[in-house]
């Protein structure tokens, strides 16, 4: 099971809104190699992992990805706080805004909603670990 700690892993304090940056950074939350995908990979791959060292690592890094999700979402949230209608139109945030306002909807930078189609879970230790390496070559 899990518990929540009322703190970010690293503080996020953004003064000025920037919806253009927000749309790009959103992909690190809900894009193909984002934190949600990483957490889904590790926390679901662990069940068929035969080695105790790997069960522990997948559990612990999967948990850490949840903390990363929170930081990325906090960044997007703060980048889109207090936007004026002019900023929303001028900075091209209107397409997102019409569907979600400033809600945090996990998607890629191109607008594809978060999808498990971008991750894999094959039940084979080596195959799954290689898949993790491929994803982590892009993820932070």
């Amino acid at each position: 099971m899990w518990g929540y700690e009322k703190k970010l892993q690293y503080p996020v304090k953004i003064k000025n809104p920037d919806p253009v940056a927000a749309k790009i950074i959103m992909t690190q939350l809900g894009g193909p190699d984002g934190e949600m995908g990483a957490a889904a990979r590790y926390l679901n791959q662990r069940y068929t992992m035969p080695y105790k060292e790997c069960k522990a690592i997948l559990t612990d890094i999967g948990t850490e990805e949840l903390a990363h999700q929170e930081m990325i979402a906090a960044i997007v949230y703060q980048l889109t706080r207090n936007l004026t209608p002019e900023q929303i139109k001028r900075d091209g945030f209107d397409a997102y805004f019409v569907d979600h306002t400033t809600g945090i909807f996990p998607q890629s930078a191109s607008g594809l909603p978060f999808s498990t189609a971008a991750i894999q879970c094959k039940g084979d230790a080596i195959t799954d670990l290689f898949e993790d390496l491929a994803a982590d070559a892009m993820a932070l």
Binding site: K7, P11, K13, I57, A73, Y77
Partner: protein, 84 residues
């Protein structure tokens, strides 16, 4: 940086040390230096959390011990970018 932010930053540092050392220990469970590193960070973490929670409120719901009011819900929440 306020004293609250200062204390929380220390907690984050000890927390991160424990987490990363823990990951190393997952694949090196008998490494004496890493075990000692983890233990030292945990001592600092526990002390810092106790001090922080007595002043600024709990970090986890399980540490709530206030019989008068459920302060767990109090703002600010971490993503709000306030002094936390």
């Amino acid at each position: 940086m306020t004293s609250r932010e200062n204390m929380l930053q220390k907690i984050r540092e000890y927390d991160f040390t424990m987490m990363d050392t823990g990951l190393f220990l997952n694949s090196h469970p008998k490494d004496a230096m890493a075990l000692d590193h983890f233990r030292k960070a945990r001592e600092k973490y526990n002390k810092a959390v106790k001090e922080y929670e007595s002043k600024y409120g709990v970090l986890t719901m399980k540490n709530m011990d206030n019989n008068l009011q459920w302060t767990w819900i109090d703002d600010p929440w971490p993503w709000e970018g306030a002094d936390n």
